[in-house]
Point group: C2
Chain length 324, copies 2
């Protein structure tokens, strides 16, 4: 199968979005939103850095890559509509593997009626998947990181650290078929971006949102720095999956603050509107937990502090960084 045959294979036969004027098959795709602003982001995934063939199927790799990107769109309060997928294929991956990656992308995309509108397929030494995602949003409903204000409630969806715990189970070959660990593994291989919840929060007047891709320590610092505020987190309120009790205190601590890749949402909202957020969460069947508050900056620069066993400590903005 050469590049042209492959492109013909993955080219969508039909499209969902009425705003699309032309999809795959010309020099560029064309679309037009009439009312909404466009949001766009790109994320790149490299074999053995972001995923491993022994812990994820090719379909999962595609599914998760798009989920990570869609999560960025959700964190802007926007609706995901299009994506472009660029892939570098080494000769150790078969045509079937690559088709499976695109099946995984398509599987997630179908849930949101997203259309694949472009991409590139080239050969190389290691598998690299680069996804550009495009969403739309009423410009007055954008959820910028800089929207946090002193007095806000800090909340998070779902539970934290699951994805890293799932990866640990897979890598250590703990009994993954044991029903108890399935939830954690699923969270690692098939995370659910919080699109519906973020969309329904459109009724809230002001809100800061960040998706938990690098761990809440990093995400909380991003909110604090962008908004020039401090963030206080109450350690014991951070929601974790009941299954995390199977692991050590150190592991739980590491995963919940620095684990990342849970693709939950970390947000801040006024105390007045917090009950509304809780009602929306209930209607979407999403767990939402108050884990702290926003305060004025107390030192020279914005910091994130954690209250644990009656002691305040400054949280480090660790998380995974590239390039050293």
């Amino acid at each position: 199968m050469n590049e042209f045959e492959f492109i013909e294979h993955i080219r969508p036969k039909t499209y969902h979005q009425p705003s699309l004027l032309y999809g795959v098959g010309d020099d560029a795709a064309v679309y037009q939103f009439h009312q909404e602003a466009t949001v766009t982001a790109v994320d790149t995934f490299v074999e053995n850095i972001h995923f491993r063939k022994d812990t994820m199927s090719a379909t999962d790799i595609g599914y998760r890559a798009l989920a990570a990107n869609v999560s960025d769109i959700a964190a802007m309060g926007a609706e995901p509509v299009f994506y472009l997928a660029s892939i570098v294929v080494p000769n150790t991956w078969s045509s079937e593997d690559i088709k499976d990656i695109f099946s995984g992308l398509a599987e997630l995309a179908t849930q949101y009626r997203m259309d694949l509108i472009g991409g590139d397929t080239v050969s190389g030494k290691e598998l690299v998947l680069s996804i550009t995602v495009i969403g739309k949003v009423d410009a007055t409903r954008l959820r910028y990181r800089q929207h946090a204000k002193a007095g806000d409630v800090v909340f998070v969806t779902g539970t934290l650290g699951d994805s890293q715990a799932g990866l640990h189970v897979l890598l250590k070959e703990l009994p993954e078929t044991h029903p108890t660990f399935k939830d954690l593994i699923k969270k690692h291989q098939r995370p659910v971006p919080q699109v519906q919840f973020a969309q329904q929060l459109g009724i809230i007047s002001r809100m800061a949102l960040n998706d938990v891709s690098d761990g809440i320590a990093n995400e909380a610092y991003e909110l604090a720095t962008s908004s020039q505020v401090d963030i206080h987190i109450y350690d014991e309120t951070i929601p974790t999956h009941p299954l995390l009790h199977h692991f050590t205190k150190e592991q739980i601590e590491k995963w919940k603050y620095f684990g990342g890749e849970d693709f939950e949402l970390l947000g801040t909202v006024s105390q007045k509107e917090w009950p509304m957020v809780q009602r929306v969460a209930t209607s979407c069947n999403v767990q939402v937990t108050e884990i702290g508050k926003v305060t004025e900056v107390s030192k020279q620069q914005p910091t994130v502090r954690v209250l644990k066993e009656d002691e305040w400590t400054t949280l480090q903005q660790l998380g995974y960084t590239h390039l050293k």
Copy 2:
């Protein structure tokens, strides 16, 4: 330099485009066009496949990658406005090299007042640069490949095969400092996408356009197939650089049909509007040459035929393909 410091380094200090609501620094960039449609494409470049460190500086690599993408936008008749740059960095490349790649991107971007609005930086085994480019266009002025009609004039801008000749000079270490080869080398390292010319053709009512990224054989087939027409090319009219006479007949033949990466435009337009295209070319100081005509399909499927020394032959759609 870690990932966060690097992002801070490449983050634009100012932006040019008034349609941009938010650039680099949140989960996604945000922009809003009010009248125009959006065009978008992605292209990925891999070390030793698309470029080599011994034939191009890091700055050239960035410059050329964005030029290739901008060329796609030009071929849609659109104006390039934004780009996102995702890079996989192996440890054999220094921070300075990577900064230079981004300088090259910025150098080309500045010419068109394009803004860098997003990206991703990750580590890996080989350098991969993936660029997403975004343009805008009045939807009635889109230049689709399917717009060719029987009776049209087929034209091309500039000269063909220069980029491959330039690469040959660099690889064979022919006297590149000799002033005579400088034009060819420049065409390889710093191609000029035909943005201004394509923009000014907005006055033409209908036109099919393709940029010459894979050689005109491939581009002509794409126009023919999309439009369901045949294309006839007169070999002796294909414009080549005078310096190509330094090479063999076989090299010239190969480079002008299959060389690619010249980023010129191949188009078709009605005979009635062809003089207008010539006038626009003159005003933009762009060479434009009539090289053939569009006819009805004569066999079962669209074909491209070449008239050479009084003989017609069917051109093969070769060009470079990945994935074999």
